[in-house]
Assembly symmetry: C2
Homo-oligomer: 158 residues x 2
């Protein structure tokens, strides 16, 4: 059932992608469909290297350059979202599928001790952010397309 759902979603996303490519006169390359399929099979955040290794270890032969290119298209098409976790240490960009999800924010939990290592990333969604967004739009006469909110913390020690 869950699996069926996933397959259905993948089919839908491929259709959306097809439409998008068509509209812009871009080509239907097999790589693009393979990559979007792998992304929508994942349930977590991933970075380019993750995705590259995953695809190498599976059926496909893709290059990182193609993944980078393709991801740019998916971002523009609204099929994925980009994140920069790790305010403390430098990390590669992370991505996640976004077509069926509502926008959500992230709580980044660091391990105790000054090692600056991420323990866990929790997603949440607080409607109050909408109120802030609207206030900012009014205050500065802008249209806000997008936001990112991260909380950084650690497990409460008892």
């Amino acid at each position: 059932m869950d699996r069926n759902n996933k397959e259905k979603n993948i089919a839908i996303v491929k259709e959306v992608l097809k439409q998008y490519l068509q509209d812009r006169g871009l080509r239907n390359t097999p790589e693009r469909y393979a990559i979007i399929e792998e992304i929508y099979n994942l349930d977590h955040h991933f970075n380019v290297d993750d995705l590259y290794l995953l695809m190498i270890h599976k059926k496909y032969q893709v290059s990182k350059a193609t993944i980078y290119n393709t991801i740019e298209i998916f971002l523009d098409a609204g099929l994925i979202r980009k994140h920069q976790f790790g305010e403390k240490t430098l990390t590669s960009s992370s991505y996640e599928k976004s077509y069926f999800d509502k926008q959500h924010d992230h709580l980044v939990i660091y391990k105790d001790g000054g090692d600056k290592e991420i323990e866990e990333i929790i997603e949440f969604c607080d409607p109050r952010i909408q109120g802030i967004k609207e206030a900012i739009e009014d205050a500065f006469g802008v249209e806000i397309d997008n936001h990112s909110l991260y909380f950084y913390g650690h497990k409460k020690s008892k």
Copy 2:
């Protein structure tokens, strides 16, 4: 008056830094004081390259390596904050002095047209973020040390 204030603040920050270095058994190098002085003379966000060029063109001879090292200390001491503007294109990390300011968030305004260029960065402070923070702390049993909130948008076209 403004200038006097700035000089007074710089004196205070140097004192704070001195204390911090002392507490950790770190050394009072002239570079560290020169760098913190230049940072607190700035009124805007800056990146390492900005700061490096500024200092080269002024009295001091510093290396980027030292600036990177030093900035790490200042971050830990709470004297500066680190930002990653530019969700769309890759940018270097930005920093800003933080000792006298209250925590604030940022509205990143992009130029119109798909050129992904930043037009302006506006700072704001909405108290409602505190409410969200507390809700998250309760919901997930964490202590939040820190947050970052960015809105990304564009000027409203009439």
